[in-house]
Symmetry: C2
Subunit: 107 residues, 2 copies
Amino acid sequence: MDDVFKALADPVRRQLLDSLHQRNGQTLGELCEGHDMSRQAVTKHLAILEDANLVATRKEGREKLHFLNPLPIFEIADRWIEKFEHGRLRALDELKKNLEGKRDGKG
Amino acid sequence: MDDVFKALADPVRRQLLDSLHQRNGQTLGELCEGHDMSRQAVTKHLAILEDANLVATRKEGREKLHFLNPLPIFEIADRWIEKFEHGRLRALDELKKNLEGKRDGKG
DNA sequence: CTAATATGCAACCATTTGGTTGCCTGTCAA
DNA sequence: TTGACAGGCAACCAAATGGTTGCATATTAG
């Protein structure tokens, strides 16, 4: 799970995922377009996404096709974020009250 | 949003959020317990969480109380993760098919 | 074969990150 | 007041990160 969080921490990598979400199966060259950095830099980012299992690849001739794997994202949503969701609507109110002051309901 | 992703990228920081989720309003000293690192290190992590608006604080005497703010997490769930959710159930199947081979429905 | 295309590998570099330590300030208790 | 407790600030350091460049390999087109 840590790999996934780390992989998602970089805006370039999130952009790459977005790009694959819009059009799956892009080659390395296609994924490089629109990024103001070298092909190697993009390759490294993609490698990190692959290690985190967020992207899977297949070689087709001399091209490498990249496919989005959203499962790790779902896992984060289900196993991690879901935990914080219980009092969602009251969350802001509770925070305000906590910052205002009374430590228990005691004072 | 980038601040939040970056803040969540570190396991220590996620652990701190978990800790606050279990018991809100902990002091710095309390949050340090169980972490095998100096108080200063934890302070830095908390500062990053504060910058990302994931933690809010209040001073009470000589203590600093820390409160979880889950709203940025909700935003990520709603604005970012939600985008990938559409074909959730078919996602794994699609990935398999994509990796197997046919590029379009054409071959 | 030759040349162009698509990608891979490795060395290198600056900056950021995550941690340390030492010392200072503010608050509570005796 | 004095000492202990809770926390803040700043300098410093090693390692990870994000990027570069140069060159090598494999595939396709002529």
